[in-house]
Amino acid sequence: MIKQVGTAALVGALTVAVAACGSGGGNGGGSAASPTGSSEAASSAPASAKPAGKIKLSYWTGDRHDQDYIKEIVQKFNDTNPDGIEVEMVVKTDDFNQAIDLAFSSGQAPDLIRVKENTIQPWAKKGYLEPIDSYLTDEFKRKFPAIPDFNVIDGKTYSLPNYGSTIRLVYNKDLFKKAGIAELPKTLAEMVEDAKKLTAAGKADGAYGFAQNFKSTQSALFRSARVIAEASGYGGLGYDFKTARYDWNGYKEIIQAFKQMVDDGSTMPGMESLDIDPLRAQFAEGKIGMYLSFSSEPGVYKDQFPAKIDWAAAPAPTIDGTVKGKTSLLGGQWLAISAQSKNKDAAWKFMQYMYGDDILKTYQEKGFGLSMVPEIAKIAGKPNIVGIDGFLPTENDGTWPLEPTSAIKVEGELATDVFFKYMLSGGDLDAMIQDLNKRYNDALDKAIAAGEAKAEPDPGFDPMKIR
């Protein structure tokens, strides 16, 4: 009887499955890939039969919105460059930053990396990036503005600008018309008032005046409160460059206004779990009167969530109606060379190609981003994409210096969480801000003492005079 049962059928079946796997490809130590006959995979197979003398480079990027275009120009480079350089572009997504950390810690780093305004600083600090000063010709130096902290770090250049992002108030023109609002809000009070009117006009159809993507409080407030604070002359992330201290008081009136809109019922219900995509989808459906966001919005409404309404973008309101500061123009960097690359010269050749006039020009014209290179901005046509006009950089856009938040370890709740809590459940906002200031400044002091952050007061700092 026992023998009849024999080996468990399942174990048997799985052994067969493994045997099948094993026979497919190398079952020894090295590679576990099985050369199955999938043609589309085979075409991108690396390392197979490369002609002698080819220099292979890898380029990692986290950008998706431009990937078809970039793939095309990378292919063109591979086909035409006289040095036998072949670039393989890898689009990583969610875990791009994590992937970079692990790749560098294990010697698998790519030769070229797409760096962003929030990664160039930490990666330069960690020694991932190679300074490109020795490659820069006078021509390059003249053409591409050096932006301290965002492409030049501690006197060394790591990247060059291509495009930047601006932040604007995005509004539903149809709903504004329906609500009889002729002028866009210039002050917080007007914004609160307009949100009320918009809701009154739209509620029957399920439309509300204002919305924010509070699933991530940072993502929400650092695209909304931030830009209002900046335009009102305060640091957008709670840091005061004049005193080199954190002072969240700049957020106070803004958060109060946001709370007022919640209390008035002028905000989209379910805002507390709203992610940016569902927000955009609701806006495209005409269910949202206005929100604040980056200049990537027009691309999304063109390709992914076709807008069913007439919409536009305009400068964000300020606290009292007077513009006292420039709003963030984020960017200033694009490609960088890895410090671990074995072919830095070749990598530079590729970079040179990518920063060519035609490519940068087309990049803006196709609407992938707004050029931050003055010479290109002059010759490039306006992006051919609905809604971009309001996002084009103006006099009132500039790049704020880097504040030290990335280098400090704040204990307890983040400012954005505290503010959102206040918006939902109220409390003593002044006490909350005081506590935030204390915790942020304590963390700052600790980081300074440990030599991890620098913070020097700049009494003459003028938020209207940043570049």
Binding site: L10, H65, S105, S106
Partner: protein
């Protein structure tokens, strides 16, 4: 038929009077099963229907049935996630992990349950403690570093070894099942001259079949859905990527919206192999009859 002892039951009380059993109870039970099944199925149906919508339609929400059926989503998901290649890699990782885990865990469970040796409690404690801590975030870095040292950081074998190493869960399941199986058979076999290894192979494994089936299924599904490690170990070798990693590429672009429609289509595709695995496992652990137990 043994099952005749139980009145045959249907989820609906539509046809035929039952031979035995109070019928209101049966009706209630049927209703209960039906309601639970609907509750369980509903989100899955929503996912399936969503996989035929446009991205905008999904993101806008509020709808269950697509207004226009986008069959092309499946084609796009197939191509973009490099499905045929990645599914094969996933199958390889999952199958190897399953076999490895079952062997390693069942051997350990067997000696822990049936043998006396010093250090047993320590071993069990060790296994338990790995379950308390081991979330990917904490141990990812050292595990990766280890695999770099072993030169396995660029192959799927590194992933497989790590996945097999977290077999504590299956170990405890097998252990508990062994506790419920009488030792009479072992002893009889030992008197017949069977070695310890022989008993493991000829008696314990067959008797553990239901548990092995469930364990295999869990391990297989777990390995199939594993994301972080395959991602890390295939950084520089896109051809080795598994399906979960491929699917993640359908998700975020830093400056574009999530492609939820492809994501759902990809997810629906990727559970097909798991359903197949379920069917295989189900057969093996549900056909156990009382007869084989009696030996």
């Amino acid at each position: 038929m043994k099952s005749e002892a139980w009145p045959s039951m249907r989820t609906r009380n539509s046809s035929g009077r039952p031979a035995a059993g109070p019928w209101p109870g049966r009706l209630l039970l049927g209703l209960f099963l039906l309601v639970t099944a609907v509750l369980i199925l509903f989100p899955l149906v929503a996912a399936f229907l969503g996989s035929f919508m446009t991205n905008a339609e999904i993101a806008a929400g509020g709808k269950l049935v697509p207004s226009v059926w986008q069959f092309a989503n499946y084609k796009e998901a197939w191509v973009q996630a490099n499905f045929s290649r990645f599914a094969w890699n996933s199958l390889f990782v999952s199958a190897a992990t399953t076999v490895g885990t079952l062997i390693v865990a069942s051997m350990a469970a067997y000696v822990v349950e049936r043998m006396k040796f010093p250090g047993k409690a320590l071993f069990v404690g060790l296994q338990a403690s790995t379950m308390f801590v081991a979330i990917g975030a904490v141990v990812l870095r050292p595990q990766f570093q280890l695999m770099v040292d072993l030169n396995l950081n660029t192959s799927l074998w590194g992933v497989i070894l790590i996945l097999i190493s977290s077999h504590a869960y299956i170990f405890f399941i097998l252990l508990s099942f062994l506790q419920g199986i009488s030792r009479e058979l072992d002893e009889a076999a030992r008197i017949d001259g069977c070695s310890s290894a022989g008993i493991y192979w000829r008696i314990v494994l067959p008797l553990l079949r239901p548990a092995l089936g469930v364990g295999a299924l869990f391990t297989f599904c777990g390995a199939w859905n594993e994301y972080l490690r395959p991602l890390v170990f295939t950084l520089n070798n896109p051809n080795l990527q598994t399906l979960t990693v491929g699917l993640s590429y359908l998700r975020y672009g830093s400056s574009a919206a999530v492609q939820t429609h492809y994501l759902l289509a990809g997810a629906c595709l990727s559970i097909l192999p798991l359903l197949a695995a379920y069917l295989v496992a189900n057969k093996s652990f549900m056909q156990m009859t009382a007869g084989s137990l009696k030996g």
